[in-house]
Amino acid sequence: MKIIKLAVVALSATVLCAGDFKPAVVFDMGGKFDKSFNEGVYSGIEKFKKETGIGYKSFEVTNATQREQAIRKMAKRGGNPVLGIGFAQGPAIDKVAGEFPKTSFAIIDMVVSKPNVQSIIFKEHEGSFLVGMLAVMASKTAKVGFIGGMDIPLIRRFACGYEQGAKYTNSKIEIIQNMTGSTPSAWSDPSRGGELAKGQFDRGVDVIFAAAGGTGIGVYQAAKDAGKLAIGVDSNQNYLHPGTMLTSMVKRVDVAAYDLLKSVQTGTFEAGIRSLGLAEDGVAWALDEHNKALITDAMKKAVDQAKADIISGKIKVHDYMSDNTCKY
């Protein structure tokens, strides 16, 4: 009996920890329904909530000062873990994590070196490589396009992987690239996204990969209106316009967020960098009933092969952020 009792005590100790477990998420400016990055996190934690019945606190940031305020408030109110979405929250997490050394923090898309922070980053270049291949294979004009959000290294990383994948398939392919803007509003400007897409279509592009958050919605809409193809980003956006969405370069932020909560719940949280690529299923290309018709077996085969080669190291996809250039 005594042993059992001890076990119960030990168990209850973990349960007590779990009682401290109050997930808190701070979304960034795009908002949790951006159909993309933030929304991916949202669906991950919603799934967690459904499965475990544990609720969470969330906040959507609307100005720069609020990031730090929101994260601190979450930590203060006992939030654990506190998850910050997006690189812009890096400095805030860095600061608040120092003030609350006992709380677990996590950030997506940015590296923060603190003993209680898990930095989740994705190898977007690997996934982009694959959708670049698909784009070229689907293109009839041998011209593919890329529309980024803000002109920042992270987006360049997408672009560079995409370019490399495209050239890998057809070295003569022409790639037209545009960035929506240079301010955070570039993530939520569908009108401009649509105009950029129309501009690319007029120049002969017939497949566009948009890595531009909410701006992408305008790109996909324009593709649909023009009868061209588009590639979604971050979340699986295939469902938006079946027949138009060739595929989506999925960043499994939902899985990452889910795993994070799970790890804190079970006490297996680890600080440090979690780098998620093809091998970890952190990035992928989406194939579902919405785009089945667009992906031929040959395409699927070629991409699956490339994926295996990347995982095995046979194909090296250049990471733009490693040297801020796109040389491969």
Binding site: D34, E60, P190, D202, Q221, D225
Partner: protein, 324 residues
């Protein structure tokens, strides 16, 4: 050659698309300001129109109902502006600023309450939107070089609101200069006492002018959310109301010149999208921000009288009080 034509045409077509809400808002501004009421709230009305249109379209699926609802909403804002500035003789700029701020907050608040999508409205299916119209004869003309392309890409292939915007310019011109209402409207913006002593109600005249502005901005807002785009996104008017105001001043409060000013500003926007990252000979890379700031800079230059004097209606900004 082929490519230059394509790029030119696509830029011009983009110009038309981008100019449409500007034109509608600028005409709204002309009605209001010609009657002596400054209308800074063009921006807010565009935004409100966009929000209500997208919401209505999302719920009912009908673009026409959406248009009607948007117009109703913007007309209520016009009534509010009129109530503050015409009935209560409040400061017109303050009232306009207030409306802009209220709308930019309320659209998000209501959007979240209604749709739970962080202020966005649900994406619309095509039948809930105003879609491009193929004009008759595109096929027929397509064999004619240049002209065929021009017809197909520039003249045809826009949605009905675009054509309404163009129509609004000529209707505005006609009303303003060829009708009794227009004569009185222009008079009340210059000398309200003259209108009052001629036995015409200054307040009623100004209310009508402001309400027409409401109708036009309602159409403009509808265009932004359910024709140009397929949903409402917070602050999606993005300063177009102010650009329209600038265009109206640039056009010296006259409909046709104001339309050309809208084209100019729309063209600058279209070109800034296409010029991005392009190196021009001699100049090097043109900062996109410079192109984006050009409408504002041009307006300031014009207002400074360096590009012909812009003379505002004389009684503008002054609430009408019978002198004592």
């Amino acid at each position: 050659m082929e490519e230059i034509l394509t790029i030119t045409l696509s830029t011009l077509a983009a110009t038309i698309r981008v100019s449409t809400p500007l034109i509608l808002a600028a005409m709204a501004g002309i009605f209001s300001e010609r009657s002596g009421v400054i209308d800074i709230s063009l921006e807010g009305k565009l935004l409100a129109g966009a929000f209500i249109a997208a919401s209505t379209a999302a719920v009912t699926g009908s673009p026409w109902l959406a248009l009607a609802a948007a117009i109703a909403a913007t007309m209520s804002l016009s009534m509010l502006h009129g109530f503050a500035t015409i009935t209560h003789k409040g400061n017109q700029v303050v009232s306009g600023v207030a409306i802009n701020i209220i709308v930019s907050g309320l659209t998000v608040v209501l959007g979240i309450a209604w749709f739970h999508r962080a202020g966005q409205t649900p994406a619309l299916q095509n039948d809930a939107r105003f879609m491009p119209i193929e004009m008759p004869g595109v096929e027929l003309l397509s064999n004619i070089p240049i002209l065929g392309d021009v017809y197909a890409k520039l003249i045809s292939g826009h949605n009905i609101l675009v054509y309404m915007a163009f129509l609004s310019v000529f209707v505005t011109y006609w009303i303003l200069f060829k009708t009794r209402f227009g004569l009185r409207l222009r008079a009340v913006g210059e000398n309200p006492s003259a209108v009052d002593t001629a036995g015409i109600s200054v307040a009623f005249l100004r209310y009508r002018a402001v309400l027409i502005g409401g109708i036009l901005t309602g159409i403009g807002g509808t265009y932004i959310s359910i024709a140009q785009n397929a949903s409402f996104i917070r602050d999606m008017s993005a300063g177009q109301g102010y650009i329209a105001l600038a265009a109206m001043i640039f056009g010296k409060w006259k409909p046709v010149p104001a339309m050309f000013a809208c084209f100019l500003f729309g063209f600058l926007d279209a070109i800034s999208i296409r010029l991005q990252g392009v190196f021009l000979p001699l100049i090097g890379e043109v900062p996109v921000q410079l192109i984006q700031a050009t409408p504002y800079i041009l307006t300031v230059v014009l207002l400074a009288g360096f590009a012909g004097k812009a003379i505002a209606p004389k009684a503008i900004g002054v609430p009408y009080v019978k002198e004592r």
